[in-house]
């Protein structure tokens, strides 16, 4: 990737900020139900 790709014709903070936020929110959406499932199974195992 050349530097113009990262520069995004001067809009880098807006473009990368948008994609970064979306990636973080998507990752949270993927991760949160996995953690919750583990907790439910742990609780069900203890009962």
């Amino acid at each position: 990737m050349d530097s113009s790709f990262w520069y995004m014709s001067g809009y880098a903070p807006y473009v990368w900020g948008s994609f970064g936020l979306a990636a973080a929110v998507f990752a949270w959406n993927w991760w949160a139900p996995r953690v919750r499932r583990r907790q439910i199974f742990e609780a069900a195992g203890e009962e």
Binding site: F5, M8, S9, G10, Y11, Y14, V15, G17, S18, F19, L21, A22, V25, F26, W28, N29, W30, A32, P33, R34, R36, R37, I40, F41, E42, A43, A44, G45, E47
Partner: protein, 243 residues
């Protein structure tokens, strides 16, 4: 059809069905998102007016579209939960709210990040932006209302009413750019007839929209599974799964 509908309402049947389908839906979502995001960031040409700032649409448009679809899904699930008292519909309703809220938040923030360089302001009290913000509050209202109840079924029924009443906001968001003199541009891809976007830019956008929809379907399936597991935690089939 009705037999299948009734079978689907059975928690263990639904759980196993979702367990079988979710990985495939997740993999398809990942492939489409990779296609859409890489295509949008790397291969689509820069816009002649907005330059590279236009690339924000590859996250903004899909999340905004999904924010409306998920609210509609929540309202339909709410109606089924109230009319047929179907527990699975209650689970779908409460599982959709956090996913919809997060997609609405992404649509709003990415819209602000696009608005600053293009309009000169992060926020304007425009009909489209304001109605989308109301949508976020409706989602947060459903999440908060469900958590305020100790009884999951009573909580879900209250949320169903809020989801059904709030669905009036969905066409307001969708048609706000036509009904009012809005700063927000009108629809480019979701309109009747020929889309006014070149295929080089449009195809990755369609892939992003499809990928985001499938991703949300995956997350909702997983969340519904969790809701079913939590409600059925005292039963033999859940105990068997937890060992």
């Amino acid at each position: 059809m009705w037999t299948w509908f009734h079978r689907l309402a059975s928690p263990p049947y639904f759980f196993r069905l979702a367990e079988r389908w979710a990985p495939w839906i997740g993999a398809a979502a990942l492939a489409l998102l990779a296609w859409g995001w890489i295509g949008g960031l790397v291969f689509a040409p820069a816009d002649y007016q907005q330059k590279d700032a236009f690339r924000i649409i590859y996250v903004h448009v899909p999340t905004a579209a999904v924010s409306l679809s998920l609210y509609t899904l929540m309202a339909v699930a709410g109606a089924i939960a109230i009319i047929w008292r179907m527990k699975l519909a209650e689970c779908v309703l409460v599982a959709t709210a956090p996913v919809g809220a997060s997609m609405t938040a992404v649509a709003l923030v990415t819209g602000m990040l696009w608005g600053k360089p293009m309009w000169g302001a992060y926020w304007v009290w425009d009909a489209r932006l304001t109605s989308e913000l109301v949508l976020l509050f409706l989602y947060l209202g459903v999440i908060g209302l469900y958590q305020a109840f100790d009884d999951a079924r009573a909580g879900a029924r209250a949320c169903a009413l809020l989801a059904i009443v709030g669905v009036v906001n969905v066409p307001i968001v969708k048609y706000s750019v036509e009904w009012w003199n809005s700063l927000h541009q009108s629809s480019t891809i979701f309109k009747m007839g020929k889309p006014t976007i070149t295929p080089e830019m449009g195809i990755p956008l369609y892939a992003s929209v499809a990928g985001t929809l499938l991703f949300c379907a995956y997350v909702i399936l997983r969340r519904v599974q969790n809701e079913v597991l939590w409600r059925e935690r005292g039963t033999a089939w859940v105990a068997e799964l937890s060992h």
